[in-house]
């Protein structure tokens, strides 16, 4: 193993690693703005410049590859002076509007300013200002806050595969913008806000909703497609405010698509059915279960299971359904036109998959079969889903729903038993590569919503006899 010396400590590295990564592994933080491990290295912000023995000039740690025996000083007076200077340069034209900036609290510029900057400004000139054009529905731009790190330009170019962010003008007037001021086109626009080291690009949906330091973070996995991108749910007082990607180099690296990022919105949606419903009006749990059993009684029932359920839920159902719905066929559903895991594939060249549910591959492993078309003799269905699987056409059959439903769907069901979404339960999902991952409960279920196992237990213990049995 090769070794170099950083701040007097011997640090091991793999050849080819840059000094920021090597130092990070040893617990030494070198501050930076333009560097991002998932993007190309441009060494533009100059914040990460460090002193290296035998080199007359400071060297940027992002663009310097560690070498055997290299002696690096990340906290020397010269390094510190440069960091202070870069902070001063970056802040002379920054509006310092942290009190009204959504990035405040998780802002690289703010953090590094506290750690490495000066308390006072020597700048007496007028600050540079820009006019901003609208960048579409996802991202809010504030060019005045921009520090020209060009991460967004490189993200568009290198990851999203669309060169929509560009630098216009030159020198001090350089403006980071979309080409011709157009709206962003990529389906991955939310990442622009994640990688922006200041509040220059923020997510419109999250704007002015919550100070970030109030947010509680739960590590979980996106349910938006069969890739299973790792992400964090951020909530406060049982309300989800946003989801952001979580690094997983095997699956999604640092990124998340907008569909996955904003998928959580249905969880807090005011249209969500959060109380048991019988014949389109609110009821209570006991009566609803009785009614459900009643409407299914004596019918030829098919059970439709959403492939947005977890492995645990799937296993429960495989125990429960044969006992209480003997002889009823069981199908999984989720993405129209895609009824087996075999048909799943990449939907783009980045992250998205064709299967719009998270656990299609897992449920098939448990033995569930895909829903193709309703067998002729069927005249009632029991639909069990999370919040993501897309309902097939029920053709006006008698239907009982268990899980997450929205107000407009109520019409189709005689009984609805409100269940939990991915954010309200723990469990395991299996992605298209067979990788099992944990999803974790971030918030409590709203209203009278109950977890699947609890509902099944109530079904078993309810006084009236089971639907088909």
């Amino acid at each position: 193993m090769s070794k170099c010396i950083i701040d007097g400590r011997e640090v091991e590295f793999t050849p080819g690693q840059n000094l920021i990564e090597v130092a990070k592994k040893a617990g030494i933080d070198i501050p930076f703005f333009c560097y991002h491990p998932g993007l190309s290295v441009v060494a533009q912000c100059r914040m990460c410049a460090v002193e290296i023995e035998k080199m007359p000039k400071l060297q940027t740690a992002c663009s310097t590859v560690a070498a055997e025996g290299m002696v690096v000083k990340t906290k020397s007076p010269r390094t510190a002076q440069n960091q202070k200077a870069v902070m001063e340069f970056l802040l002379i034209n920054h509006p310092l509007d942290c009190p009204i900036c959504d990035k405040s609290g998780e802002c690289d510029l703010q953090d590094n300013s506290y750690r490495h900057g000066d308390l006072y400004s020597r700048y007496t000139e007028e600050r540079r200002t820009y006019l901003d054009l609208d960048m579409g529905p996802v991202i809010q731009k504030n060019m005045n806050r921009c520090i020209h790190c060009t991460r967004c330009i490189r993200f568009g170019d290198e990851i999203a595969g669309i060169r929509e962010m560009v630098a216009l003008q030159r020198g001090n007037n350089t403006q980071i913008s979309t080409v011709d001021g157009r709206a962003l086109e990529t389906d991955y626009a939310g990442n622009y806000a994640d990688i922006c080291p200041t509040g220059s690009l923020t997510v419109k949906d999250f704007r002015f909703k919550k100070r970030v330091w109030f947010l509680k973070k739960t590590s979980t996995v996106c349910e938006g497609c069969s890739r299973g991108c790792n992400m964090e749910i951020h909530q406060d007082a049982n309300v989800i405010y946003r989801c952001i990607p979580r690094e997983n180099m095997q699956i999604n690296k640092y990124w998340l698509c907008d569909e996955g990022r904003f998928n959580f919105q249905y969880v807090n949606d005011e249209n969500r059915v959060v109380a048991p419903m019988v014949n389109h009006s609110v009821s209570d749990w006991g009566l609803s279960i009785d009614q459900a059993k009643k409407v299914l009684m004596g019918k030829k029932i098919a059970v439709l299971v959403g492939s947005d359920l977890t492995q645990e839920e799937g296993s429960h159902l495989l125990e429960f359904l044969p006992k209480h719905f003997p002889g009823s066929p069981i199908f999984h559903f989720g993405t129209p036109g895609l009824n087996t895991a075999e048909k799943d594939g990449d939907a783009d060249r980045i992250l998205k998959r064709k299967s719009k549910t998270s656990n299609l591959h897992g449920l098939e492993k448990l033995g569930f079969q895909g829903f193709d078309k309703m067998p002729k003799e069927i005249n009632a269905v029991l639909v069990i889903r999370g919040g993501r699987a897309i309902l097939p056409d029920l053709k006006g059959l008698v239907a009982v729903g268990l899980g997450v439903f929205m107000a407009p769907q109520v019409e189709e069901f005689s009984v609805i038993l409100p269940g939990t979404s991915f954010a309200e339960k723990d469990g395991t999902i299996v992605n298209y590569e067979g990788q099992a991952q944990r999803i974790r409960r971030a918030i409590l279920p709203p209203g009278q919503c109950k977890g699947l196992s609890e509902v099944l237990m109530m079904w078993v213990n309810s006084k009236s006899s089971s639907g088909a049995a």
């Binding site: 060494a43 100059r46 000039k57 200077a85 034209n93 630098a167 003008q169 020198g171 001090n172 350089t174």
Partner: protein, 425 residues
């Protein structure tokens, strides 16, 4: 001392010289490339090494050594690029070479291309040089038609294609990696080094970027030998003659060709150029284009060459010598120079993008008589925070002059601040 030598370039600086016929007849045209194409590549490079030819673009890097950096067994195509951007203020020598002796440059490029194994070459010429670009194209067409360029040059089985590429007016496209980005059709911004162009340059291939005057000297080296060329220089480690561009307040401004290291700055200003306009006193000399730190009237007894000037803290750069007489406001001058760098900063790296404008603002304030006592210290600190800390050399080019002007002419700045106006008006 200066009478008895034969100039390499200036004697041909007339309108008749640019034709192929003149080049063939009077300048042993294309015999050098014929000779070089018969030599092994290493031999050409070692001849150039022997010549002590140092890059004429500004950095003064030994040309032979630079050519030697090209990897021998690269799978990617190699490129030879001629830097004809000549963007340093005070420099106007390459323009004359391209205007009067374009074939000399083409001849030199064929030799260089052979030495490094490149089959494609570009002349990246600054956008403002419209006439020179046209003249070069005429010369290139002539050379193609007679088999001095193109396939199987002079029966040597060596192919070399040469294209004139016009810039769009950015100073930074004279910096070699900025030039390469511009050549590739990207924003003219310097790249992070390493990798250096010799490893990965134009279109990712190994690339050598040489100045016009550098390449135009090559045919002489091949025809008359590296040693002969080296001996033209009157100072160690610097061969050949040099073109000096003298501008400003001298009686006879212009391009002068002198053996490298043969004169002092005083001899050049007062002898060759006939002294200061109106016989005024000398105030300052900028010896190497506007990015070189300034010299005072007391510092001009220095040999005008790379190392003597480096020893006293400035540089020969592109040999653009700007002479300033006593009645020109030194604060106005440095403000104007800083304005240039502020305008030309590409804007990608922090210290240069923010620092250049800040320095200009402070200097502007001082010149208008609105400066404050603490502004000089602030100015020096801002300049120091840029020096050596930027992505390319433009930060140094902007900060170096400011530091030297304030240090050497502090009284002038203080007079502006205390008198609340420019004392010269």
């Amino acid at each position: 001392m200066l009478d008895e030598f034969e100039t390499l370039f200036i004697q041909h600086f007339n309108d008749n010289a640019r034709s192929l016929a003149y080049y063939l007849e009077k300048m042993q045209g294309y015999t050098a490339s014929k000779k070089a194409l018969a030599m092994p590549q290493d031999e050409v490079i070692s001849e150039v090494k022997k010549s002590n030819l140092r890059g004429r673009g500004g950095a003064g890097f030994p040309t032979g050594m630079k050519w030697g950096f090209i990897p021998k067994n690269s799978t990617k195509p190699k490129y030879l690029v001629c830097n004809a951007d000549e963007s340093e203020p005070g420099t106007f020598k390459d323009r004359d070479i391209m205007r009067y002796t374009p074939h000399l440059l083409i001849d030199g490029m064929v030799i260089g291309a052979h030495a490094i194994g490149a089959n494609t070459g570009y002349i990246y010429i600054r956008g403002e040089y419209t006439r020179e670009a046209k003249l070069l194209q005429v010369a290139i067409d002539e050379a193609y038609s007679k088999g001095y360029l193109g396939k199987n040059i002079q029966g040597s089985k060596f192919d070399f294609d040469l294209t004139v590429h016009r810039g769009a007016g950015a100073y930074i496209c004279g910096e070699e990696t900025g030039l390469l980005n511009s050549l590739e059709g990207k924003r003219g911004e310097p790249r992070v080094k390493p990798p250096f162009p010799a490893q990965s340059g134009a279109f990712g291939g190994p690339t050598i970027v040489n100045n016009v005057e550098t390449l135009a000297g090559i045919p002489y080296i091949i025809n008359r030998g590296g040693e002969w060329f080296s001996k033209l220089g009157k100072i160690e480690k610097s061969g050949g003659t040099r073109l000096f561009c003298v501008s400003g307040h001298v009686k006879k401004p212009g391009v002068y060709e002198l053996p490298a290291g043969s004169v002092t700055l005083r001899q050049l200003v007062y002898g060759t150029c006939g002294g200061i306009l109106g016989d005024k006193k000398l105030k300052a000399v900028i010896p190497g284009g506007s990015s070189a730190p300034v010299l005072t009237a007391d510092e001009i007894d220095v040999i005008v060459d790379i190392e003597p000037l480096m020893k006293i803290g400035t540089m020969l750069g592109s040999a653009g010598i700007i002479v300033v007489s006593e009645d020109y406001c030194i604060v106005k001058l440095i403000r104007r120079i800083t304005r240039f760098y502020e305008h030309e900063s590409c804007g990608q790296c922090t210290p240069c993008r923010e620092g250049c404008r800040w320095m200009e603002d402070i200097l502007d304030r001082i010149e208008r008589g609105k400066g404050r006592e603490q502004d000089l210290a602030l100015l020096l600190e801002v300049a120091d925070n840029m020096s050596g800390k930027t992505l390319c050399a433009l930060g140094d080019a902007a900060a170096g002059p400011v530091i030297s002007f304030v240090k050497k002419f502090r009284a002038d700045f203080e007079a502006h601040i205390r008198g609340a106006k420019c004392p010269n008006v």
